[in-house]
Symmetry: C2
Subunit: 355 residues, 2 copies
DNA sequence: CTGAAAGCGCTAACAA
DNA sequence: TTGTTAGCGCTTTCAG
């Protein structure tokens, strides 16, 4: 195979050339460019080196640097499903924060279906320094293998009990806000339509709902979980079962706008008007939430801050600090739109058609 | 028998150790492990090396290999917005395909707002071999700089005229299917609610709609574009303008489920029932599309195949082939749900409430 | 057929 | 204060 013909003068400038131009050696140039604080050097030489670097357009070769330093400057973000808007929001800020800390982010999808060892490949081939794991769930193979590979990592959003490295949000508080909002509107019989209960944050939100209801003196909420989440799955069927089995319910708190949309569909099919006959609200905001019919009241969460906090926490680990649990303190916030309203005075009765 | 050997202790197994155990030298071990076809070696030695590698759990250090070979084994995927479900679908398959071709994928978000040079950093610091660019749009800085850096790249979904390296789908055909679907239902006055027309695929879809309408003898469709897409933006306002200004329209073809949802909202506010008074359909399917009220008829697109094709095309470039335009041939497919139905016999008249 | 030598580009340790 | 030496772990010559 022929050698790639490289345009003349197109060749990448190396550190040695910068050093030569500044009339010094590579190590000195390296330490100046990397701002080595232990280096005592003539200010004039420093200026010469920096100027040479600038003039030549020098960019360090990260790979060479990585090989020498024994650190790659790359992190991997492991998501369960990329199509879930929640993860997109977390990831987005994580990428930015990582870059500001000097790391690139590799993406890995670790779906429930395809138990894939690409994460391990990445780790064991020395491509990355640490792992942001948003795909934790019980029984996931990754967890076991992480113990073997001793690689710094944090669990994002989905925590792992006792791992001591969970970066999560105030999920229980989110439920509390939701329940308070509904209770303030006079609702007493409410349902919590949950994401799979195998997932840690889903469980924390259920707990939050139950605790808040108890504290407010409401009857115990109905809890139903949608066990398959991929691509909508059969959320509609579950929503139908929920609304059908519990006509006494006047408000549903769903674990995502998608689940809430399923509830809207189910109620609509049964001729129950939202919010007149039944209120519906969702955990987390998405662009679609505001465009549902009716627009969904949601509990907005600090997903961007979560992404940012997760990276910072991991970077601290990489700098030698021990791992630690972290709760993003920003408070959940109810955004009231049109899907929640005062509870009906009389128990809701299915009507022939929307009002 | 499939006992997974584990590197006990901190120390990572090096090639030299594999070679030692197989009683040969590193170069030979390397060539055997990398399946060098020009290597003629005793089958027995080959077996010894592979067995030693397996037993020691050897994983090549990708960084060292990259440094030596002058190729990093990493690609960057540049997306405009991660929260757009379309890109999530493309990206998802791209990551898998890349892995199967031996590449990791770095993620970069290149939003309209934050003109960010992190892509260039990645390139000029020698972290990646090539670029998958899904964020192309006129005036984007990246385009100019790409010419300077001579880095292999392809444009995904959003093409750049005359680049000769666009990997796109049959967008015009998607519009054709949509228009045919609506025409078959008796609609004649239709509207195309477009994504920003600065974007190449949006333009191709508009062209497709106009061409199909002309071919079918329909009056020229109304075209209105939503110029800001980020986070829903003011899609609802635009949708209101569209439906309000054109009461004669009996069907709207929107450029995404989100835009379609905005149209559903607007029509609902105006007391027009969907699909009774007006049909609505969308380009591309998402989990939410099926859960809208009413569930959206959509034109499903092969986004996964697009992601896969883009990676393959880029990899070919990296292997020395010249870039080439590529159209993913899989046909757009209309998924009929409940938001489209026969055109009303009389021109639709705003009514006081849904039927 | 196989192995020894020579780096890829950078930086940590040590000399001067 | 500065330069020299020595690799990081791998793979590509090029001799044996």
């Amino acid at each position: 195979m022929a050698r790639q013909p490289v345009a003349v003068g197109q060749h990448r400038v190396r550190l040695a050339e910068v050093a030569a131009r500044a009339v010094t050696s590579s190590p000195i140039a390296s330490r100046i460019i990397n701002d080595d604080p232990t280096l005592r050097v003539r200010p004039e030489l420093r200026r010469r080196v920096l100027r040479a670097a600038r003039e030549l357009g020098y960019r360090p070769n990260e790979l060479a640097s990585a090989l020498r330093r024994g650190r790659t400057g790359a992190l991997a973000f492991v998501v369960p499903t990329l199509t879930n808007p929640t993860f997109a929001r977390i990831l987005r800020r994580a990428v930015v924060e990582a870059r500001e800390s000097g790391y690139a982010v590799l993406l890995v999808e670790d779906s429930d279906e395809a138990p894939d060892d690409s994460v391990l490949q990445l780790v064991s081939s020395g491509r990355i320094d640490g792992l942001l794991i948003a795909s934790a769930r019980p029984g996931i193979q990754l967890l076991a293998k992480l113990r073997t590979l001793e690689i710094p990592h944090v669990f994002v959003n989905r925590g792992v009990d006792g791992s001591g490295r969970n970066v999560v949000m105030r999920d229980a508080d989110a439920s509390q806000r939701a329940v308070e909002h509904l209770a303030a509107l006079g609702h007493r019989r409410i349902a919590h339509f949950a994401a799979p209960l195998a997932l840690d944050p889903a469980r924390r939100r259920v707990a939050g709902t139950l605790a808040a209801a108890a504290r407010l003196g409401l009857p115990e909420p109905v809890v139903m979980a949608q066990e398959r989440l991929e691509d909508g799955g059969d959320a509609l069927a579950t929503a139908r079962r929920l609304t059908h089995a519990h006509p006494e319910i006047t408000a549903v708190y769903a674990d995502s706008p998608m689940l809430a949309a399923a509830v809207l569909r189910a109620l609509n099919e049964q001729g129950r008007a939202v919010p007149h006959d039944c209120s519906v609200m969702a955990y987390t905001d998405t662009p679609m939430a505001a465009l549902c019919t009716p627009p969904l009241t949601v509990v907005e969460m600090p997903l961007e801050a979560l992404g940012s906090a997760a990276v910072l926490s991991l970077v601290r680990q990489l700098e030698g600090h021990p791992p630690a649990d972290l709760v993003v303190h920003l408070a959940p916030l109810v955004l009231q739109r049109s899907s929640t309203a005062a509870a009906p005075v009389a128990p809701a009765v299915p009507r022939t058609r929307n009002r």
